[in-house]
Amino acid sequence: MTTTTAPPASRGTAVAERLRQPSFWVEWASVLGLVVLVAIFTVLDPRFLSSGNIKTMLLASAILTILAVGQSFVILTAGIDLSIASTMTLAAVAFGMAMTSGKGLFLSCIVAVLAGAAVGLVNGFLIAKGGITDFIVTLGALSAASGLALILSDGRPITVISAPLFKLSAGGFGMIPYTFLIALGVAVLAHLVLFSTPFGTHVLATGGSVDAAQATGVRTARIKMAVYLISGVLAGLAAILLVARVGSAEPAANTTFLLNSVAAVVLGGVSLFGGKGSIKGPVFGALLLTALTNGLTLLGVSQFYQPLAVGIVVVGAAFLTRFET
């Protein structure tokens, strides 16, 4: 019995071998991009790696990281959640209203997560059972959720004053903020779910080929519902961090978070056609995007040149993923 694979290689050549695989580069592109970016910024301005600035970046990255994780699950099934940022807005308003009506922090957090979950469930139901394209359902949800947020809040920001929330948003262990730890925890959990449970395999299978997954009995409709639910729940969680961060619940929809969440996922090597990718990639993608804005501001790049620079760097970072098969 002949095998076409080479005999077990020594450790050194095994590494060399991995480095030669295009998929390796796709998966690690965002990490590499981040490293290169950090190196450049540090050379240009050593304060970039000061502990204060690292803390600033980690603080700023927590919300995007959580959203990117949620978006990853959806995109891995070949879907897209355009409503992720509006869902966060709606959940933030719900959270703010619960807080100001004296529900207490714990209950209010539950309200926020439930609000996010509700949008996720509706999305998932319409997509999986209603058979409507993801893009349209979540575009509709984008509009509807921000409308609801406006109606509920009457279009005004809801100021939320809470000592524990403030502590959560500002505190940390040394230069590692609590909120970043939460995001990290979410990412680790997501990684385990994706790669170490049957559910995760089924998510990948659904994204890779719905027909094949169905033919082996995977309940792809349920999987679709689940990923939108996950995305909604994580948007709810992100909403809490957002309110903690800015001290109020703003009804204004934030489209930057939407595009950035998808960008982080794609920079992280997840295919928009579903079925292949990781969690680590998107997490580093989110860090990369955060570091980019931070670095440009730190260097004092003018506001008009920032968008241009962002565009060029994003494409440059993606250049690393171009070896995709």
């Binding site: 095998t3 076409t4 395999t201 089924h202 094949a212 033919a215 009995g217 079925g275």
Partner: protein, 260 residues
Amino acid sequence: MTTTSTEQQARPMGDVLLEAQGVSLSFGSVRALADVSVQVRAGEITALVGDNGAGKSTLVRCIAGVHTADEGTIRFDGEVVAFHAPDQARNAGIETVHQNLALVEDLTVWQNLYLNREVTGGFGPFTYLKKRAMRSGAQEMVSKLAVNVPAVTSTVRRLSGGQRQAVAICRAAGFSSKLVIMDEPTAALGVQETARVEELILRLRHEGHAVLLISHNFDQVMRLSDQVWVMRAGRCVAGRRTVETSGEEIVGLITGAISQ
């Protein structure tokens, strides 16, 4: 179909495990199945033959829960079943090797083999995949069938046509089931692999499973099967006990030269 019943009584036969009766299915204007009735017996290899586009795969997809028939009933293991999804058929004990193989290209060989049959540890929310067990299990299954054994950690996308076929067959045969359906399982296989798959099919029969085999290879059909059903243009035009027919008769039935 009624003409075949006398012949069937002539030999000792297994119990009827699956019985399709009057199954019809149309796709828009294309009537892919018209009043098809076939039986599959436990402990037997049943062949289904017919020209391209005769409706064989469509019938299999109805049995496996991929399509739902417009009309007609399917009985499995004594009960009328109406599978609306493949997982229902799979849970009832029907494993299928589809003609298009139904593999997820971007998953690895072992992930495909164990898809929806994962080996897990832990319990409840703490269920986790036993990857090592699945990898070595997969290695073992595949090396029984394939000659150029692909690495089970490589993605299906990188396999040759025959290697894919081997993976799909392993998946269907690897999990105990009452009925294994194989839609042209050896079409892409080389000599040695074909021989191994034929052995596998015989072993399945020996172990008491029923096998429904679609094949364009008459030698194979005549060599392996106990019963042959012939389809033509969406209809089941004949059923024969293999020992009581000949390659020529079957060809005649397929082409319509012999009309029943």
